[in-house]
Symmetry: D2
Subunit: 489 residues, 4 copies
């Protein structure tokens, strides 16, 4: 197995500068109602571009090269996982990038490869001409070392109704015209991450569909400068005007989400991966989500590590290391973080190989994601508890340098732990940024909703569990089935 | 009961304009290292002044007059509670003001009167000349309808040591000189709320003290323009540049906390309420905190109501009213809010009258505060869960009006509940402001730390509970004590 | 109002002996498949009879008389509540009886009067002849000071279907024949408490019904010796062979539940309170449950007090008073217990008077019940945690007295708290009985299921909350409704 | 490495009958104050013997042989783990035995080998003559295929004081005489599991000790019939008189705990493994506990599986599969069980090899144990919730066969799930036994206390976590450390 290995061109690993340059095209991006001429220089988006370029810089960084470059010489993000070890390496790469990215996932290759893998895994069932197109598009992304985003979630309208039953026929993206050379699509997607600074956008269905939803069972890819494609960016969590002292995580880092509008966009046939195969829509939707949830639990690890580290650091600079309740909360935070790590790694180790693609254990991935999601708000509470009220009453950095009272203020801010006032304030600001401002809110809402909601994870857990095995044991315990365990048959 | 009632001057109820005018004095306020010339016109503080003036406007508003004005014609905030009904009325006033203040407590009279009541309750134990000064200062505030802030929390330094054992002798505010006509104090307080826009500041000790801490056992009051007093305001949660569409709660409302520096400030004797009576320091500290926690649980009610209301509204505009998990979370939120309300009201009903002052049941107040504090993060989680990812990916208001895609976007934002796109977005923005941005973070941190931390509340609960009664019952149940219940003695 | 007051016979307060004697009739009770000739002497049921007689003894006990006897001279259990104070007195009586009953509710009058009140409240809607029969039956119970049980829960069969759609037509109790002088009923009820030692059984419908369920919309009363009525008692938690040293709560106390079979039982017209009025079935079912939940939260108070007291006592005899984690768990337990108490009392204070009957606040009653039910298992965990492993490894009382090693064992069992080995063991046994054996299991299952399940309570909370008021506030906060709060209309 | 492999005698695998026979010796066992002549025929202990014999039967059972017999032909319980795979195999064996043992751990070899491994791991530090004795005793147990119990927990007395400071000098087991040929010990241990039916007892210290505690730093082994050794068995959870229909788990299965008294017991030198090396006492105590916690989390798996299976089965026989809240609780239970399984397996995979002995990851073992312990009570609550009130009101099996009403009762007990009344009742009885009676209480208390308490696990978690690594990351995030991540050094 490996068309990868057969290619004789030297694998390309773009530089951060090449990546940045590639974003200067005719894409139509709007911010607060205004068209953005160049995302690489825009006051907010440039931070998103800079953050995303981390995925490129790592491949050229000696410290990360082994992790960031696959055995075939391409970016490891595009390495199709075949074994547990491949999954562990992918997870480690995603974790390392997010760690270097100060707890904000980079995503610019992560999410796109998740979608590519789910498409590849569906090739044999979709058959030709789709299988070939998928393979070629995958190679196009890999060979070009492209930044790839994914638009999946539709606006949906009435949640009690399917795509074809909506009052607004465009509530889900659909095919409005089939031409000899391609299709025309209309509609909109919401929550599209990193679209303003990607090279390609993969569009996937968001749910299972029935025969009436045929027009909505559509998957395809587009370069970002495709006519008719409009990206309306959310103003949430703008970097604008923030100082790194006060917002050490979010002042200079950014991920952008857009409402993504398809105004009768033409997609050439070669880029259409599904059009009408409603019976595979759910499978594709779920397949992507499952790969993406494994990405998610991998990139949450630096965040939970940061919470533990920040709490430990705060307990130290506040002189509270010995307090019983602080130790109790610290042990909770450690258990939370390390359970997530263990579940993530174990999900890779217990993978299933389907058509040559290693899929992390779905049950464990969802349990990991659920436990992360259900615990984050409590984790914030504990970290805030250890940190103290200064989180929202801290003085400004300008105050520390004030000739009249700056020195006194610094001295008052010193505490038992031997940290200077400046250091203590930095710890407070880290925790404030991490848990009590827009960045913390962003992480909290992502925890609950990104890569599928808490309720979706519960349903998956219930569906994936081997229920009959457990019931059989209970029946034996209850004496309904007689004889010894295990039942001989 | 009432020296109050004997005064023959007509009670004064200042207008909002008079209040605002009173703030234009020589007070030294700093914001991001710069001196603020006039807090009433400063781009951030003017919102704090405007918010605070609500306490004045209500007294002149027919709809609130009965609640806002006491039976003696003064502001009800200054009505010393004598009965359960007084406490219930005070609680209702605080709740109403916060409700009209869009879930942000007004505090400008609430906190000051809490301190005044705790001083009044200590009069007989402090004796003269302190008792008389306290009474006169109380009347001064009441008669002048003044805005009064309280500075209590010291920076503390090493938490394992008492005030007099700190490496930094100024870690707690202390008397550095005793003069014939007053005292000179030095040190600093942190987390001082509403100080930039108050008329008077009451300074209280923050903890119990021993004989060595004599210099630190000090309580007094100062007008805000006292020489040597410096207020360094926190930059957290600035209103600057926010739109009310996106931040319906926090764009135009603000409470300011300061680091409060006492650079050898002279306090005339008449304004000194404690100086050296270390044996009463803990009592005064706790007395204020207990009154203030009752204020706190009263002003948390609009916040928890807003969470319930926002969740109900979100479930409706998202078309999720019928979903089982949504109903489960809604019932949790309702139980959370109404338990807090019941405990608050019941604490007033079960008050204890000490020296003529009605004190809400300490055990119940602390249980209420603790349950609020421990549940808020989970409440945020549930509300965010019901609301959806739009909380952090919403388009800007400018986008809704864009000629090219605004109308389409509005239509996509419509959902099953019959709400327009504009309305749905407003609901999302409310919840984003309430739970996922700086305002939500502010409320979350206040929940854990303001008016005493979670751990302080636990200790109070343990201390206040009638342990021996419970142990006696357990001993009887265990058969250690014989006979029938109740034991006859 | 008061036919009560007009009666010129002297109110009757039966003695415990009279009560016991009244149970020797032709009732058909089965225990483990065997007919029980006399419940007052049966090795298990006699403990149930003895426990139930507490309700009678209290009325003749000087210490309880004021609480146990109503202002009209009848047992207070039969006093129809007209005011908050009536509800508080009723709650206090139920609490006192359960406290004297060592945390096991007595129930023999409590549950019957709950049913009577719900029938009385429905009189005007049911009209004659039902109204008169209800009134007369109420007076019959009150005047005779009778022990009254209630059979409500049907076996149900398929929970997705209503009564008339069940494969087994007898899955819900129904009328199989209407005669001139009465009706004949068939079917069975489950979970019928205290039936083996009651004088009267009131039978109520268990849910709302539709027109097709007419035959199932039936309510009536029967003396326990009615032909065709069979009581099959559960063997769970038998007192048999238990020593009071090891099981201080459950060795000599018992409440009995039965499966209650109606084998074509004739009910004379005078005792039929509903027959076919399906439109009132749900109302009657809910009405009883709501009264009964108030009874429930009242009788849970001694249980939660016992948990707090036992935990305090265990921490003392184990020498753990000072341990931080123990104090944390104790404060949790106290908050749990006192929140339940506050909600219970506040529900009485906020009652609604309907047709002259005071109904405790339904929202608060259900919140109280839910919080109790959701917390009990955690409370058990905390108490077990403080108590230690001896809960399940304790030696027998016979060991303490063994000539060879008894004295040594007693000494080893002593701990820091100054308690003797015997005392420490008694504390362990109390907690073992309370949380870790059948009695604890009984209380745990009752917490979740008795008087309606956790889920039923959640639904009631959602239904009872004033949703529109909360939504209106959220709409104003969101800026959807303009102007000041409160909206003028 | 491997004296094991060099031995030329054929490894012995005793039969269950040989095991049973070996228990008929002069051991002094007391039950309720009476000496037990033969534990294999005693009405309670025979169930313990029968249950324990499972460990022997499995080695002769084809279905289990591969798991139960190590590669060297001895019982796998005695296979010293060298690799992750050894640990996984050991864990699988313990899980399988407990599963076949109906959720009750067998323990008769498990706990003893945990102690042997911890002694073997300490050999090099203890030096001779201890190292040789340990090795020989290990071989003695392995070669003889012996049942080995462990006595560790002392009665302790005042928990605030060390062994040598206790008012009662025997509160911890100690050496009272050193002879040329051995030592004489005095004192007592509590919570000693399976001692009545073991062949050997290993005695270990329970905590770290100081120089003054020299006499208490003692470890040794004894055959159970050693003079002066007395076993006082707990009466908790007696099998006596229980039917398997009503108590499918606990009617015929039993683990016995004893208070274990050492009345000046002589221990020959060859069996003394530590005497006075106080500096190693804590290490040995912890070493055993850590091995034993891994055993614990392995043997908890069938219990949590049983909870999931029972809940699934109950939801089916109650016809509640589709109910939203039931599915929510089921997904919680599955996550609980599978997180425990993943952590257990991952702890084996991440083992550390010390002196050739593979030690499961301590951090993960403790997190697993803690999460199990903290969740079990909630798990019980959810299972009880799904099962219903019948858990404590079920009729007796004799009732189902009653000629008069048995058939009717069976029919009423049928529910939607297609299960017969008999089956449904068996499911209820399983859950009642599992969660609501003495067996459930036993499991609940063991969860909190066995193999170390919840608080001990928290402390271990905090101690084992790589704190400095986390703090370093937080410092970099906060901007205290500059440069890129990871820091180059």
């Amino acid at each position: 197995m490996a068309p990868d290995a057969l290619t004789d061109v030297r694998p390309r690993l773009r530089s951060a500068e090449e990546y940045r340059e590639s974003l200067r095209d005719g894409r139509r991006v709007f911010y607060r109602g205004e068209a953005v001429a160049d995302v690489t220089t825009h006051e907010v988006f440039r931070h998103a571009v800079e953050h995303a370029s981390l995925d490129y810089r790592m491949a050229h960084d000696e410290r990360y090269r082994e992790l960031a470059v696959g055995p075939d010489g391409y970016s490891r993000y595009f390495t199709v996982p075949r074994t547990s070890d491949d999954l562990l390496a992918r997870s480690a790469l995603i974790e390392a990038a997010t760690r270097a990215g100060k707890t904000l996932v980079v995503l610019i290759k992560e999410i796109g490869s998740d979608a590519l893998f789910s498409l590849l895994a569906l090739k044999s069932r979709l058959g030709e001409p789709y299988a070939g197109r998928i393979q070629r598009f995958y190679e196009h992304c890999r060979d070009g070392d492209l930044a790839v985003c994914v638009a999946q979630t539709d606006f949906k309208g009435d949640r009690g109704k399917g795509p074809s039953q909506q009052p607004n026929p465009d509530a889900y993206v659909r095919v409005v015209e089939e031409r000899a050379d391609g299709i025309v699509v209309r509609g909109a997607k919401v929550h599209t991450s990193v679209s303003v600074n990607a090279n390609e956008m993969i569009v996937l269905p968001t749910r299972a569909m029935g025969p009436d939803d045929r027009d909505y069972a559509v998957a395809f890819a587009l370069p970002l400068d495709t006519p008719g494609l409009k990206l309306v960016a959310s103003p949430y969590l703008a970097t604008k005007g923030k100082s790194a002292f006060e917002h050490p995580l979010s002042a200079e880092r950014k991920m952008v989400e857009t409402a993504t509008l398809f105004d009768d966009v033409f997609v050439p046939s070669e880029r259409v991966f599904m059009a009408g195969q409603h019976e595979h829509a759910g499978e594709l939707a779920r397949g992507f989500v499952e790969f993406h949830r494994f990405t998610a639990i991998s990139y949450k690890l630096p965040l939970v590590d940061a919470l533990v580290g920040a709490a430990l650091l705060a307990s130290r600079v506040n002189g509270l290391d010995r307090a019983g309740h602080v130790r109790d909360k610290l042990s909770w935070l450690i258990s939370y973080a390390e359970t997530l790590r263990a579940l993530t790694h174990h999900a890779a180790e217990r993978c299933t190989v389907v058509d040559g693609v290693a899929i992390p254990d779905t049950l464990l991935v969802n349990i990991a994601k659920l436990q992360f999601a259900q615990g984050l708000h409590t984790a914030f509470q504990h970290v805030q508890d250890i940190a103290g009220g200064l989180l929202v009453t801290y003085p400004a950095p300008e105050d520390l340098d004030h000739p009249e009272y700056g020195a006194a203020l610094r001295r008052y801010l010193e505490a038992a732990g031997g940290a200077s006032g400046d250091e203590r304030l930095r710890v407070m600001n880290l925790i404030s940024d991490l848990t009590a401002g827009e960045y913390g809110g962003y992480q909290a809402v992502l925890a609950v909703h990104a890569e599928g909601s808490i309720e979706a994870e519960k349903l998956t857990i219930l569906a994936q569990y081997e229920r009959e095995r457990a019931i059989e044991y209970a029946r034996w315990l209850a004496g309904i089935e007689e004889g010894e365990w295990p039942p001989s048959d």
